[in-house]
């Protein structure tokens, strides 16, 4: 089985999954700390409309089926941002509360996206290359190409640079937005940046984890890392490591068993990691709590 690692495709798949998992995991720390897990869930479900929609638009405009991430990730971003704006608008201007409006977004975006997907698949003159589109539901890392890897790489580099440059302000905004506003930070603009980082963290992983399970790839590494450290920097690094590791193993498992969707494999890994962290982490974990209580 391990000789598979010498195969170029498998190497590419595993490497790009690792990078993706690391970025999602790291950016997911902000989502986790700011209690945006469910927002992340609905955003990732909504992005299917963008993915399928952009695919279809490209076909209408050029007659080709293009599944490259350079087309689909912007689509996912557009749909996610639209979903978020609409949710915010509904929550702010009507009596509907935040989680109900997130649910409505789910209905609209995911429902329409699914309809469009099925329509594309059933249409009488099939679009070339539409076969892999359904994999965006549960993820299929094996579909990663080299150009996809560059797209992922660029997004990773951009978000890492962002993190480095704006580190202290992002840290402040995550933990104490009131104080930040008091210091004169224009909170609106920085919130926008954090939101963009969230969207990047989500769309980057859609190919390997799929829309339905993306939220786990975003939140689980952060939740696990949180148990082992109290410092934001270490948490982000650890979450990146855990995310990357689980994503790589999930992708590898999916490469070994053809036809196994990648998303669930990754999530099972991640869930184990979270369980282990919650139980065994020194100082915070369940077992260590029991021990201190007894003594």
């Amino acid at each position: 089985m391990l000789e598979l690692l010498t195969d170029y495709t498998v190497q590419l798949v595993v490497l790009s999954s690792a990078v993706t998992g690391a970025t999602s995991g790291a950016l997911g720390c902000f989502a986790y700390l700011r209690r945006q897990s469910l927002v992340g869930d609905v955003i990732s479900h909504s992005s299917i409309l963008g993915i399928v929609g952009f695919f279809w638009l490209w076909f209408v405009l050029t007659g080709d089926g293009n599944k490259s991430l350079w087309l689909l990730i912007p689509g996912a971003m557009v749909a996610s941002i639209a979903a978020m704006i609409l949710t915010q608008w509904i929550t702010n201007s009507t009596k509907i509360k935040a989680d109900a409006s997130l649910g409505v977004m789910l209905a609209i975006f995911f429902g329409t996206g699914l309809t469009l997907l099925r329509w594309i698949q059933r249409s009488s003159n099939p679009i070339p290359g539409q076969a892999g589109l359904e994999d965006y539901l549960f993820g299929m890392a094996a579909a990663t190409t080299l150009s996809d890897f560059w797209m992922i790489g660029i997004l990773t580099v951009v978000s890492s640079v962002c993190l480095f440059v704006c580190w202290y302000r992002l840290k402040l905004l995550t933990f104490d937005p009131g104080y930040a506003a008091g210091l004169g930070l224009s909170v609106g603009r920085w919130e926008l940046l954090l939101l963009s980082l969230l969207v990047i963290g989500i769309v980057i992983g859609l190919q390997i984890a799929g829309v339905v399970l993306m939220v786990a790839l975003l939140i689980a590494p952060a939740s696990a890392a949180r148990q082992w450290t109290n410092s934001l920097g270490k948490m982000i690094l650890l979450a990146g490591l855990l995310g990357g590791g689980c994503a790589a193993s999930g992708a590898f498992m999916s490469a070994v068993r053809k036809g196994l969707p990648t998303g669930p494999a990754i999530v099972v890994c991640l869930t184990l990691v979270v369980l282990v962290s919650v139980l065994f982490a020194p100082g915070r974990g369940v077992l260590s709590r029991r021990r201190t209580l007894v003594t």
Binding site: I96, M105, A107, A220, V268
Partner: protein, 339 residues
């Protein structure tokens, strides 16, 4: 209403492992084991989520997300591995098989009583109606003020569990017919649409049910037209009905509200224009002096006043007609009376 909209999403994903295992054992789409196993799986999810939340180590939303994602993944892996040869594959999870479900009819003694799943859903609907009508007061109290309810001895904890079980049961029974995303959409969007229109609980229930049924019908016909599975169309129909209500509702709708704003704004500007004409400060309307922007808005107001014969033009100046004077006086009196 309980702000637990996302719990139903979690439940709908989490029932998959139970369903998959039950199907693997029984190989029969309609065995009651499916319902039972899925219900059990839903309860497992709730228990695990609460366990995680009790440790207080994880953010509550995050624990919900992780638990249901984990269970759902286990289910999908199981299906991909062991159930590859059957109809029960990943697509069905998301979508259910509504079209086929209607073919499996329930027969007693040779009488065709309709599709089995329809009967099951009808039964669940009856159970729900019974539950809601019998325990209406308790549910209402538990929903709005659990502490008060517990002080009255109403045991809100019990009702919450009962409510969650009914939600699980509905999710599970509907799953067979409709798949997971659809259920979430139908559980959240119709009540949200109903909440826009009314705040009384019994109206909410009724309107949600009607909206749900209507969305399902619209969605189903759309799916026939587009030749796709009904799941996506019904879910988006529910969502679009919500948007429709949001914009077009005659009492609370966005369009009506904006129209009201615009009308009030216009009335204020008309009043202002009348007052200025009376005062003789004509140059306020002149664009060349750069006094009043937006120029076109004032032109519109003046034209309107002209049409209503409240002002008249004489040698390039505006003047109030007697009707205009009367209207201005009336408006000012109204204003003074109101403040």
């Amino acid at each position: 209403m309980n702000r637990q909209a996302m719990v139903s999403e979690g439940l709908s994903h989490a029932v998959l492992p139970g369903l998959a295992i039950a199907f693997w054992i029984s190989r029969d789409y309609n065995s009651p084991w499916l319902l039972i196993a899925a219900g059990a799986s839903g309860l497992v999810m709730i228990w695990l989520t609460e366990a995680f939340q009790r440790t207080k180590l994880l953010d509550p939303d995050a624990s919900l997300g992780i638990v249901f994602a984990g269970m759902f993944s286990l289910g999908v892996l199981f299906v991909s591995n062991f159930l590859k040869q059957t109809h029960f594959h990943a697509d069905c999870i998301i979508e259910g098989n509504l079209a086929i479900a209607s073919l499996d009819r329930f027969e007693i003694g040779g009488w065709d009583l309709g599709p089995k799943s329809w009967l099951v859903m009808l039964l669940i609907l009856i159970v729900q109606i019974l539950f809601v009508s019998v325990c209406y007061k308790e549910l209402k109290a538990t929903l709005f003020d659990p502490e008060l309810a517990s002080r009255f001895g109403l045991r809100p904890r019990l009702f919450q569990l009962l409510w969650l079980s009914i939600v699980s049961l509905t999710t599970v029974a509907a799953f067979n017919v409709a798949g997971s995303i659809l259920i979430v959409a139908l559980m959240i969007a119709p009540p949200a649409a109903a909440y826009l229109v009314t705040t009384r609980l019994h109206h909410l229930l009724l309107v949600s049910a009607i909206v749900g049924a209507v969305s399902a019908m619209i969605g189903f016909y759309a799916s026939l037209f587009l030749d796709v599975a009904p799941t996506g169309t019904v879910a988006s129909a529910a969502g679009f009905v919500f948007l429709l209500v949001l914009f077009c509702s005659p009492s609370n709708g966005f369009i009506v509200k904006q129209w009201g704003h615009w009308q009030r704004n216009r009335a204020t500007l008309e009043c202002l224009a009348l007052q200025w004409i009376k005062d003789g400060s004509q140059d306020r309307f002149s664009f060349s002096r750069g006094r009043m922007r937006p120029f076109r808005k004032w032109q519109y107001i003046l034209k309107r006043l002209n049409r209503q014969a409240l002002i008249e033009q004489a040698s390039g100046h505006y003047a109030l007609t007697p009707a205009g004077h009367k209207k201005l006086a009336a408006k000012l009196a109204e204003f003074n009376a109101a403040h």
